[in-house]
């Protein structure tokens, strides 16, 4: 749709005969954003690659600073001997997959419940989106201090009242505790996306199917679900982008306690969070980037599908 009309427009402009009527005139509005993003994200990444081949450390953090020198692939070799790194990778995968899948499932169910008229519909929607608006660090503190805490936590008080024994949520189940908070915050986000999907459903087709005698469940399975597919994909994609970077909840709730150190927290501990070994931490980061690129290529294919759909429409 875009190419033909754009070409036609180019001709109209071309008559004026200014030197910028070429593609450069079109590129000009794009340049500031492009230059900014390259400078702030790509250049530091290149510097990171360089650091990863050195033994760079923060000079102010040690009494006898070592001179920075080139160490070749030593940092990379060390990564594959590091069980803690492998563990952090695995934790990251578990945390992200669990949080994304659970919030997507809850989000879809809640969206279906909200996409029908009932008393107080707007109010209930307002209640449900609120956790997404909270600062992640506040969400983590609320759950840590008010819900999970064995000193003040309301959950243990309820369990004891019901005659069960208290559970040390955060120390015994650190990963599950963090995932709970992530799901609590991200379910509303997924719900908003799925609501958009449900509301964009063409009602005439559904009514026609109803007239033709399709059962409500059949309509849901054969018309609504396929229509929701790209919204589910979009939710998965956006959710993963943000949840894989989860740092706030780990930092505040467990401080990377057993089984809850994910990749962002691990690399943080290696570098500015206490290790100050920028060289080896950079190597870890690069390995993570390689993995991310593999996952991203896959996700971008999903996005590409979304764009094609848009063009067909």
């Amino acid at each position: 749709m875009t190419e033909t009309t754009a070409d036609a427009m180019l001709k109209v402009k071309g008559k004026v005969g200014d030197p910028f009527s070429s593609p450069w005139r079109r590129r000009l509005p794009l340049l500031p954003a492009l230059v900014f993003m390259i400078a702030v994200t790509q250049l530091p990444f290149l510097v990171s690659i360089y650091y990863s081949f050195t033994n760079l450390k923060d000079k102010t953090q040690s009494l006898i600073p070592e001179p920075t020198k080139f160490v070749g692939i030593d940092n990379y070799r060390a990564i594959f001997d590091d069980p803690f790194f492998r563990q952090a990778m695995w934790t990251s995968v578990k945390m992200t997959v669990l949080a994304v899948v659970l919030s997507l499932v809850f989000g879809t169910l809640f969206a279906i419940l909200l996409d029908r008229k009932f008393f107080g519909q707007g109010f209930v929607r307002t209640l449900l989106i609120t956790p997404f608006l909270l600062m992640p660090v506040v969400a983590a503190l609320i759950w840590k201090q008010q819900m999970f805490s064995s000193l003040f936590g309301i959950l243990d008080k309820v369990l004891e009242f019901l005659g069960f024994s208290a559970v040390a949520f955060i120390s015994d189940h650190p990963l599950a505790s963090i995932v709970t908070v992530l799901v609590w915050q991200w379910t509303p986000f997924m719900m908003l996306i799925m609501l958009a999907g449900l509301q964009s459903q063409p009602s005439d087709i559904i009514e026609a199917a109803g007239v033709d005698g399709a059962t409500p469940f059949g309509i849901f399975r054969q018309l609504t679900l396929p229509h929701l597919r790209r919204y589910l994909e979009l939710g998965t994609l956006l959710g993963s982008i943000y949840i894989v970077q989860a740092f706030d909840a780990v930092d505040q709730m467990t401080g990377g306690g057993p089984g809850s150190t994910n990749i962002p927290y691990f690399v943080y501990q290696e570098s500015i969070g206490g290790g100050f070994r920028y060289g080896s931490a950079s190597a870890y980061a690069i390995v993570v980037v390689v993995f991310s690129i593999i996952i991203a290529t896959f996700s971008l294919r999903v996005l590409s599908g979304l764009l094609k759909d848009e063009q067909r429409a």
Partner: protein, 287 residues
């Protein structure tokens, strides 16, 4: 437009009246369950510290904890300082994000550059780059250029984290501007700036507002950079909140009050704009 003139999703149980009421009730129960931790924190923020720690209510409710946390102590980050810093960082970064995103979206949607799809992918791919992959060079150079502990470094980084999403969303709203309107303006010889101002922006305005709001939310709530690159005078609200966690004495009620203050601006904005966010988050997948 939630459910106006529509009968909602068919689940197969929603056709009978009793079923409708049951599903409405289920939605209410879930809403209550989801808001419970926030509601409980709000209640705690009105309690005395003794009541808060014991989860009891013997001494009544008051606004005293709010005045406790908003009074500044010498040498401790004050609410006024943190709030001002957050406000400046969020408003400046969001304004610059939108100033960069609008022309970029124009060049990706209305008069697309060659290979516009690749450019769009580049922007969104920067979101896949883990923050940790670029944090040390940023940290090292920020140190070198004396940017640690300034608002400037946060503004730069918040533009970087929000710009891809802003371009992506703005573009999807620009696509929905009817092509005939733009062509008519072109033929009339309307200049680019006037085209944007009189044709495109009025139509895309609600979407642009939703985009800006999302940038505000992410910037206001950001924690990692705020803590790592910013101490002392330029600290923002997340730092102020965790400053209320104390290892000595009871702090639960004060922490609750601080949490409520820190989240209030963004929560109010989000409530006001929720319907627009539903449209905005689907990023034009609706066509």
């Amino acid at each position: 437009m939630i459910g106006r003139g529509r009968r909602g999703t068919r689940l197969g149980v929603g056709e009978s009246r009793a079923g409708m009421i049951a599903l409405g009730l289920a939605a209410w129960v879930i809403g209550m369950l989801w808001i419970f931790p926030v509601a409980w924190t709000l209640l705690t923020s009105f309690k005395t510290e003794q009541d808060a720690s014991a989860q009891t209510l013997h001494h009544g409710l008051s606004l005293d904890r709010y005045s406790d946390v908003s009074h500044s102590t010498e040498g401790v980050l004050s609410l006024a300082t943190a709030f001002t810093n957050s406000l400046v960082v969020v408003l400046v970064s969001t304004t610059i994000v939108m100033l960069l995103a609008l022309p970029a979206a124009y060049a990706l949607a209305i008069r697309p550059v060659p290979k516009w799809r690749d450019v769009l992918f580049f922007f969104i791919s920067t979101k896949f780059l883990p923050i940790v992959a670029s944090i040390f060079p940023i940290y090292v150079y920020a140190q070198k250029w004396d940017l640690i502990g300034t608002r400037t470094i946060l503004i730069i980084l918040y533009i970087a984290i929000n710009l891809p999403l802003a371009i992506w969303m703005t573009r999807s709203f620009f696509i929905e501007v009817p092509r005939e309107l733009i062509e008519a303006a072109e033929i009339d010889g309307t200049s680019l700036i006037n085209q944007l101002r009189s044709v495109i922006l009025p139509i895309a305005a609600p979407g642009i507002a939703a985009t800006a709001l999302l940038c505000v939310i992410f910037a206001w709530n950001e924690y990692f950079y705020a803590i790592q690159l910013n101490f002392a005078g330029a600290s923002t609200m997340p730092q102020w909140v965790i400053g209320n966690v104390s290892t000595r004495g009871n702090f639960l009620a004060k922490l609750s009050a601080a949490s409520m203050i820190a989240c209030l601006p963004v929560v109010l904005a989000g409530w006001a704009a929720q319907k627009r966010m539903i449209r905005g988050l689907s990023m034009g997948a609706i066509k």
